[in-house]
């Protein structure tokens, strides 16, 4: 496996980003520990009433915001690590150094993407359960890992595809993620009823599958069985972009 030799180098090249993500994760853990120490009672988890008494609405809001951002950590980690996967190499001329070697670019970038997605998954899979354990005194089981995997596949695939074309890959993915959130909210509220036929379906198909991700999040939050259909939808979306990224990579100029 020629490209496996680049696994360590791929991680080393992303060393600074990994360090930033680890520091970012440490902030969450530190905040959780602080809240637990301040308000954790005899029940083994953080209670909102003492938190409100300690810091009022601002502290409760801060905790809720922290929880919401934490739920997006897999997205953030994926974007930070995968950003520029191909486009940076193209812009800096690294891609040409690899391209003259008799190894398929799909292997070179595929293995690297796999390593980076695994790193994003691992970081999230450590942080989210740790946070849950500190805040709730328990972890939600494999549902957390399935949710993280869905996020990593959806946004890793999309960013990888965009990276073949543009250096703004991560920013466009973020924009699409936010658009998907808004789009899904509008759909759920029935505000798109007057849209021309077909438009809703096409846009919903192209945007990240927010509804599926939301279904996974809800199941995780309400400790319900994992909705595997939603996971399959999310994973399929990510894999589709990965396949398209491979096709584009083989045909795009270096």
């Amino acid at each position: 496996m020629r490209s496996v030799a680049l696994v360590g180098l791929a991680l080393k090249a992303r060393g600074r980003r990994l360090a930033v993500l680890a520091a970012f994760a440490a902030v969450f853990v530190a905040a959780a520990i602080a809240v637990r120490l301040l308000t954790g009672g005899a029940h083994g988890h953080v209670e909102l009433d003492p938190l409100f008494l300690t810091g009022g609405y601002p502290l409760v809001s801060a905790l809720l915001l922290l929880g919401w951002v934490l739920g997006r950590f897999p997205l953030i980690a994926t974007l930070v690590l995968v950003a520029g996967l191909v486009s940076d190499d193209r812009a800096r001329g690294y891609a040409r150094i690899y391209a003259v070697r008799p190894t398929s670019p799909i292997l070179v970038y595929g293995v690297r993407l796999l390593v980076l997605l695994a790193a994003a998954f691992a970081l999230s899979a450590i942080l989210l359960p740790t946070f849950d354990l500190i805040m709730l005194g328990e972890w939600a089981g494999p549902a957390t890992l399935v949710l993280i995997l869905a996020y990593v596949l959806v946004y890793g695939g999309l960013t990888a595809f965009l990276s073949v074309w543009t250096r703004a890959d991560a920013w466009i993915t973020l924009l699409l993620a936010v658009t998907a959130l808004v789009w899904d909210a509008l759909r759920s509220a029935g505000r798109l009823a007057t849209a021309p036929p077909g438009i809703i379906e096409v846009v919903t198909f192209l945007l990240p599958p927010q509804r599926a991700l939301f279904a996974l999040e809800s199941a995780f939050a309400q400790v319900q069985p994992i909705p595997w259909e939603a996971f399959a939808h999310a994973a399929g979306y990510g894999l589709l972009w990965l396949i398209l990224a491979g096709v584009a990579l083989m045909n795009r100029e270096t």
């Binding site: 020629r2 490209s3 496996v4 030799a5 680049l6 360590g8 180098l9 080393k12 090249a13 060393g15 600074r16 800096r92 001329g93 690294y94 040409r96 150094i97 690899y98 391209a99 003259v100 070697r101 008799p102 190894t103 398929s104 070179v108 100029e253 270096t254």
Partner: protein
């Protein structure tokens, strides 16, 4: 286009444009047709922006021609690079700065398909040949431009590829390493590999290359042999004192700078030179020195550029 077995690289009316014309796109290559035979050292020279790097990018399959056709060893250039690989040294060698020299070479050797002890042998041979022993564990970000260029050359030595493409390889190298570089390139050519070299250093090209392609504004202005077997012989004749008889015996003589005693002359062979010199002496000319003086490549390039498009 029918691939010729003796040709390593064939370009037929290759044009390359960056960006659409209505947005002021650049025409980097314009109808370039070239046939580069297998083996030997072929230099591509020309002013900045002539299209040298674009030409190499097409030969290595990085870019596709906007029109025309390119083939390497009878294959699409991209297929050739992916199947057979090529040794390539870009104008500015760069890889992530956090990698050490050793890690970089090991990683690239692995992509060449070299494993285990053979990989280590090749990596350490390349390090030794480029004098990078002391830098082996240093990060690329810590290296000077000249050292980075040497790492770039080292990575081109990792596999013995038939096609070697060197784009301004001596840029940033000190004089000692320029000399050593010439030795390496001559080795490539001696081993029967086809070497493509772009350089602004015409004296270097003159020492190394068998053939020169002169590009200007994306077009081939001229292709010439550096040491043509059939060219007329050129000599510098120095007289003891000015003599009008010289211009009678050598009507095409060109003065060396503003001198009225030193001239460059061209003859078909040594016999013709002897005959004319005898005539000059008979007319009372006093010859102080006669030296072979092949026309410098720089002069030929300057003349070709001054003559305008063919």
């Amino acid at each position: 286009m029918h691939a010729c077995r003796d040709a390593m690289i064939e370009l037929e009316s290759v044009s390359k444009r960056y960006g659409p014309p209505r947005r002021g796109g650049t025409q980097a290559l314009n109808g370039v047709s070239l046939r580069i035979p297998r083996g030997g050292l072929h230099a591509v020279v020309g002013p900045n922006g002539a299209g040298k790097t674009t030409l190499f990018a097409i030969v290595l399959g990085f870019l596709r021609p906007t029109s025309g056709k390119a083939m390497v060893d009878g294959m699409d250039p991209r297929d050739y690079a992916r199947r057979r690989g090529a040794a390539y040294m870009p104008e500015q060698f760069r890889l992530p700065g956090s990698w050490t020299v050793l890690e970089t070479l090991r990683g690239l050797a692995a992509l060449e398909g070299v494993r285990g002890t053979e990989r280590e042998r090749r990596v350490h041979t390349a390090i030794r040949r480029l004098g990078l022993e002391r830098e082996a564990t240093k990060r690329l970000a810590a290296l000077s431009h000249g050292l980075l260029q040497r790492v770039g050359l080292a990575q081109a030595l990792l596999a013995e590829r038939e096609l070697v493409v060197l784009d301004e390889p001596t840029e940033g190298l000190d004089p000692l390493w320029r000399i050593r570089f010439r030795g390496l390139v001559e080795e490539f050519a001696r081993a029967g590999r086809t070497v493509l070299l772009a350089s602004h250093e015409l004296s270097e090209v003159e020492r190394l290359a068998d053939r020169v392609v002169l590009l200007e504004r994306g077009r081939v202005r001229e292709t010439f042999e550096v040491r043509p077997a059939t060219a007329r012989l050129r000599y510098r004749i120095e007289l003891a004192m000015p003599a009008a008889a010289l211009l009678e015996t050598f009507p095409d003589a060109a003065p060396d700078g503003g001198s009225d005693v030193a001239y460059y002359v061209e003859v078909d062979d040594a016999a013709e030179l002897s005959r004319r010199l005898a005539a000059l002496l008979a007319e009372g000319g006093i010859v102080a020195a006669v030296q072979p003086a092949p026309e410098p490549l720089e002069e030929r390039v300057r003349r070709a550029l001054a003559e305008g498009p063919q």
